[in-house]
């Protein structure tokens, strides 16, 4: 199916509204500030937090520790909320966590078909594609097709388990530890753990592919 003509059309639609949206948001913000509902410094702090402090490095450290420390691994699989909180990652959009682990027979993948639920506390804000109707609609009915578009070819013998985040439970995929990583420390292992590998739409990097 060719999508280019319609995609163009769609983008045309969306983009034609952007200057209008920009003005609208600025008007709204200034109204709310003047009404005393929001404090400008608080807005800046919220943005700064998610642009610089909370991101997928948090989740990567969780995964690296689970790869390195069997007791931590077991705790994470048993009570992800507590195990993740022990590393200091708590709070908004990570209040209730569950870890789902990839094995040689199982590949996990996370979606929120109804909106864009995502574990902010360990992965930061979701990428645009995660929030797109294209991903949300297809992940549950054609996960293997989606994974192929992301470059993952899952063997027929591997079960694909999709987790639709319909409640306030947030899912973190624990990818398989790559081969050739024996003896690497947690910080080096964390460098291998990509955001997409913790959503289930990617795999960890191999050692040697990063500088």
């Amino acid at each position: 199916m060719a999508h280019s003509a319609e995609d163009d059309h769609h983008h045309h639609h969306e983009n034609s509204e952007l200057p209008e949206t920009d003005l609208r948001v600025r008007t709204l913000e200034s109204l709310l500030v003047e009404k005393g509902y929001v404090e400008p410094a608080a807005l800046d702090r919220l943005i700064e937090t998610y642009e610089t402090k909370i991101g997928p490095r948090n989740g990567a450290r969780v995964v690296a520790k689970a790869w390195s420390d069997a007791a931590y691994h077991d705790w994470l699989m048993e009570d992800a909320t507590a195990a993740i909180a022990s590393l200091g990652y708590t709070g908004r959009q990570g209040e209730h966590m569950m870890a789902v682990e990839n094995t040689s027979n199982v590949h996990n993948m996370v979606v929120c078909t109804l909106c864009s639920c995502y574990p902010w506390s360990v992965l930061g804000l979701p990428p645009t594609w995660y929030k797109s109707p294209a991903y949300r609609s297809r992940a549950v009915i054609d996960p293997r097709g989606v994974l192929a578009e992301f470059g993952l070819d899952i063997p027929e013998t591997t079960e694909v388990r999709v987790w639709d985040s319909t409640a306030e439970i947030r899912y973190l995929v624990i990818p398989r530890r790559p081969q050739g990583t024996d003896g690497l420390n947690e910080e080096t292992l964390a460098d291998l753990v990509t955001r997409d590998s913790m959503i289930g739409t990617g795999l960890p990097l191999l050692p040697g592919t990063i500088s």
Binding site: G36, V38, E39, A42, E51, L114, S132, E159, T166
Partner: protein
């Protein structure tokens, strides 16, 4: 409701655009829409579930032609207009004409604390759980016009309880000012063949979190 947001299994949206290095925000207005939405959320003028309902009731033409932060912004306007915290004329002119108070405002020095606390939805359990691990359950074929978190693609289908999450705030009630009415919450696993028909791969599954009132015994 069977709204535009409920897209699971729908077709026609095309390929997934996933550029490798994408910034969190593509435009400055996205930053501001994001922050204003969070800060207004902190005023406790509506619940999380009320804000989701405001988004999913956007007409499909609007929902699908809006980017995600556009959806947030449009829903935020709607929530504020509904509650009299903003008027259409204020939005049109940019001139404040009313100052209905809000319960609280988020101060910059409290941001870290508020984010770290989050808003847990688990509540003390009263009633005992009706289902246990391994139980077969059917997602009810229900089509409320109000908010629900049971996606259409699951309704009527049989799955298995794979996790008991405890007792959580019930969105179907909390989205409509009817209180938290906490209910047992379960992860239910459905086979892809049960959901989508026999040509799907045999072992593949989709799990979703379902509150007890969504489920019935098989």
């Amino acid at each position: 409701m069977n709204g535009a947001a409920d897209v699971g299994g729908m077709m026609g949206f095309g390929a997934i655009s996933h550029p490798a290095d994408e910034p969190n925000f593509h435009h400055d207005w996205e930053r501001r829409a994001f922050a204003v939405t969070l800060a207004m959320g902190a005023t406790a003028s509506w619940t999380l579930d009320e804000s989701r309902f405001a988004r999913e009731t956007l007409p499909p033409a609007v929902y699908y032609s809006s980017s995600y932060y556009q959806i947030w912004e449009k829903a935020l306007e709607k929530l504020m207009l509904e509650r009299g915290l903003l008027t259409g004329r204020e939005l049109a002119t940019g001139i404040v004409e009313s100052r209905k108070p809000v319960a609280r405002t988020l101060a910059a020095e409290d941001v870290d604390k508020v984010l770290a606390r989050g808003a847990p939805t688990e509540r003390a359990s009263g009633a005992s759980a009706r289902f246990k691990l391994g139980d077969k359950v059917r997602a009810k074929n229900m089509h409320p016009f109000t908010h629900t978190r049971l996606p259409r693609y699951l309704r009527g289908h049989v799955g298995e309880i794979v996790h008991v999450h405890g007792v959580h705030v019930f969105p179907d009630s909390n989205a409509h000012g009817k209180g938290e009415d906490p209910q047992w919450l379960y992860a239910v696993r459905f086979s892809a063949r049960e959901l989508w028909g026999k040509d799907r791969p045999a072992g593949d599954t989709v799990s979703a979190d379902c509150w007890e009132p969504y489920l019935e015994t098989v």
